[in-house]
Amino acid sequence: MSGYWSGILAILAINIIFAYGIFVTATAGQLNLGGAGFMAIGAYGAAMLGEQLGWTPAWTVPAATLLTALIGMGIAFPVLRTRGVYMVLATFAFAQVVTGIILTQPALGGAMGLVVTEYVDLPVLLSCAAAVTLLVFWLTATRLGLAMRALHDDELVATLMGVPARAVQVAGFAIGGGLAGLAGALYAHHFSFVEAQYFSPLLSIYVLLFVLIGGTQTAWGPLVGATFFTIVPELLRIGGSWRYVVFGVMIVAMMMFRPEGMVTRTLLARLTGRRRHADAG
């Protein structure tokens, strides 16, 4: 496999994990436009643990994931006081604060970034992506997944039916934050370098687009969205900026004609020949 394609596969694996991190909150009805902030915490957490304490990636990656999950849980309480557009703005502000703090702390490398010496190879990334995919598929099939879907569709009715809304949403932020942190930790170890500028608002926007264009109804959505947006531009092989213009046009057209995303429950039911179930649900 050429270096070019292994590079793309590495980005794809990280994007898939990251997209699932955003998907888990989106599936419970919360839009997180601060994905880059969580990913940055994971990346810098892994980098600092590796460089300062000399931990190996086998320890830094789980530790960074756990750290980001805890931060996700902590930030969920204030953020969940907000709704709709406010939540989008609150998470956006959170990511800005995170990158702002990184830029101002010399211990974190500031604008110069940090070098990460421990290297994690592509197979690890791919198996992590596969494991996360399976985990999220399993999660959507559990009671927690059902509760999230209920909250997404109608929070009031779900609450009346006895769904503990706050607990489920906090869990969503913790799991989602953890996955974004995992993506960040793997990014840091694979590319051996982290800098705050990478975790820009644009990154948060892109990953949210992966999820929303892929579709939030089923766990296939982020997988399809992230894969599509990572691979198709490479296949198109058109000049740098035109690819983004094509992207933009696709996004606008998608929202006009199929706002629920590429993969929907109905589509899956059709593909697997379960029409009747689809019509009912």
Binding site: A26, G29, Q30, L31, P78, V79, R81, T82, R83, G84, V85, Y86, V88, L89, A90, F92, A93, F94, Q96, V97, G100, I101, L103, T104, G110, A111, L151, H152, D153, D154, E155, P201, I205, L208, L209, L212, I213, T216, S241, W242, Y244, V245, F247, G248, V249, M250, I251, V252, M254, M255, M256, P259, E260
Partner: protein, 338 residues
Amino acid sequence: MSDAAGVRGMHPLVISAGVAAGCVAAIAGLAALPGGATLAQQVVSGLMLGGIYVAVAVAFTLTIGVLNFLNFTIPTMFMLTGMVAWGLARHGLPFTDAWHWALALPAGIAVAIVASLIVERFTFRYLKTRHGDATEHAIPLVSSLGFLLIFEHLVLIVLGSEAQSFPVRFRLDWQVGPLVVGLPQMASLLLSLGIVFWLSWLLARTRTGRALRSIAESPDTATLLGVEVTRIVPVVFLLSGLLCGVAGALFVVNYSDVSPFMGDHVGTKAIAAMVLGGLGSIWGAIAGGLLVGLMETLGIHFFGGDAAQVVVWTALLAAIVLRPQGLFGGTRIGKGKL
């Protein structure tokens, strides 16, 4: 209107005049203190910068107030004005060098307005679907992100990614005691405030304004009562295009440079300003814009460039969490908007 301003029973103009007089007095007092002149100068620059944030923040707040739509193309309109004007002055317009900007900037504003109307055509015109679920409001937001990519990269393709100098030969500084007030900056603060005042008059007193407020309250009821929503919604986009265009033009006049990324910084600051002031409140956006401008210049003065960003964003995060309705927003989001 005045409900949203948070101070009842007084005309907003009276309040504004009072605040303005207070500001001038405070700056004068500060400048008179020993060693206070530099600080007073920072306050003046902060207010001038805030004037630009005000116009963009009002564009944001108007779209959210009426349509509940966080329009991410607003910073792009701002950028389009500057870049298109620069492109025209550079490649197309056969004007004398000294005054090219005077014609190029209005052309840039016109392009921003047209672009804004295109966004309306492809976001709101089609997006009638109502799922009623929690992420429904994301649909126009995602569309606007798509347009952000389209416009930004078209500009990159046509005009390149370099920051460009677009000098405006119109440098008049006004010396007041120890303070230097740039005349273009002063004019831009007044102009952007003037447009906002005009806008609030439009909303409060005209037929169009009443239609806009009725849509903000309830689009369905407005339709039932005979408001033609499809004809009124473009007005929102026209106004936000105009506000961003004017802000972009003022930015060029004041700072004399343009780049395809100039909208990102101003756009995020304007979002911060809008949230601080309270979503959907025009007076809040004015206060928020001036406050963010002040926080930024004073933050840079005391803590340095990157820390200033942290100051602004931490204030924003705190505001969202502690007082989500903002400084001037009503407690009921949705009611009392605008």
